[in-house]
Amino acid sequence: MVDPVIWDIGYLVSAAMFILGIKRLSSPRTAPQGNRLGAYGMLLAVLVTLVKMYTEGIIGYELIISGLAIGTLIGYVMATRVEMTEMPELVALFNGFGGGASALVGLSEVLKRLQNSNVPDPGVELYATWVAIGLSGIIGWATLTGSLMAMGKLRGGFYIPFTKKDDRGRRKWVNFPTWGPPWMNFVKGAVLLACISLIGLTVQNPHNYDYIYSLVILSCILGVLFVIPIGGADMPVVVSLLNSMSGIAAAFTGFVIGNNVLIIAGSMVGAAGLILTFIMCKAMNRTLMAVLFMSFGGGGRESVTRTKIGSDPVEIAMVCDGITKCVIVPGYGMAVSQAQHAVKEFADLMEAQGVEISYGIHPVAGRMPGHMNVLLAEASVPYEQLIEMDDINSELPETDVALVIGANDTINPVARSGEGPLGGMPIIDVDKARVVVIIKRSLSVGYAGVDNDLFFEDKTMMLFGDGKKMMNELNSAIKEF
């Protein structure tokens, strides 16, 4: 018989690898190594668990082997097939799976104990185990349904299966709903309160299956209610918060099965996700509470009464001739139209003429933390050219042309006035550049529902249309020029 303490030492090594892995993930030079370290730590934890189970007697291999095989296959295929543009959805989906797995482990444990009449007598063991199962359940199920909702919102909508295909072979498309009347917060509060009371009831009546199943259903509803009122541009906050929650769910599962590596890894991921959440909130100058519980924009959409004559690509190409410095500011519109390769081509054309190119990246541009950086990296944009907001703002007064692609709220000068929905939000000061070129579908307001005065200024040239199409036309205009 092997001394069981050896397993705990194995888990300790694996926890140390996770800690070093996360640490190294936060610096560009060491990040690939950090990720590998995390993966090896996970492999070690799985191997330790398997060997431990083997020495203690495995009674059936079927579920273990097929579960690992099916999961590996699906995970491998999804990770290999994914396009960079689909990355936000995939990260949200994996996150949901993590939360769901933690919740299922808790549920499985409680059912197994009931089945084997292994329910502890009232005392510390009963209270601690049942409360941990309940908490991992609430957070885990809410993470699963919340992440699925977030995934739907990141895609923007979905095709209804079995509907008639149109002439382009597509099925009917529905936009994913964003819906949150003010009374929704009371419903959310009531559901959360009901979940917590149900944990109390299961502790008092551990043998009652109804309480357990009600808890599962209510937690799933909680996740849906939590995400449905939050609009697309607030998704970076939601995605990183759900990431944090999946970690916390794993930590509570650690309490359930009495395993320290789950507690350490889970709570570290929880803390890391929370830090990212606060970075995102700060970049929008909104509190986490405001993002989660106050509906934003959407309402009172101002109708645009002013007009602005659009420019054409040839005009822009003429303006871009002979300049020395150009700053490119991408937004969600670049991601939607997948214009990143056309943007890179533009940058290459300009660089061939000796123009200095840099990219100004707003921290909440796009739909997930770091969205723009990932897309531009895919288009082979050198890492050094991606400049953070504060640094690019000091360069903009010396910039000849600021080219904005599909961004609106993150460049709206009204934010500096400190009033209105955008008040106080840090922005990229493109209005300080000599000429501002904005590629956008129309003059309509952004997510915040605020008009942008910059569009109507004399130094601003609007290029109306799809980001990728306009960039391609601009590129060919430059080549002919």
Binding site: A31, N35, K112, I275
Partner: protein, 105 residues
């Protein structure tokens, strides 16, 4: 057997690990926001350990019981989270770091 002493020890580990997590990544460059998130997410798939332990079941009478089937689904989901998560993170980081090496001269 879970006693008050072991519970308090576990809570100690929990609280210290949260503080550690906060200290560990106080400053992250925006380029790494997505990879950090998806890498951390893969690590939260550590719940795979619990899923493995509970998937240990016997098909003696044909059906191993609801609890084992739930653990089996948990195992599949956790494995997807772990394998997929580390792979996409690696894919992103190779892109970011690879570009850096080539563009950085």
């Amino acid at each position: 057997m879970l006693t008050l002493a072991t519970l308090v020890a576990s809570i100690t580990v929990f609280v210290l690990a949260i503080f550690l997590g906060f200290e560990l990544i106080s400053k992250v460059p925006p380029t790494l926001h997505t990879p950090l998130m998806s890498g951390a997410n893969a690590i939260s798939g550590i719940t795979i350990v619990g899923a493995l332990i509970l998937s240990n079941a016997q098909f003696n009478s044909g059906d191993p019981g609801t609890a084992s089937w739930l653990a089996f689904i948990a195992l599949i989901m956790a494995t997807i989270n772990v394998v997929g998560g580390f792979m996409v993170t690696n894919k992103m980081l190779e892109m970011i770091a690879g570009k850096k090496r080539r563009g950085g001269n």
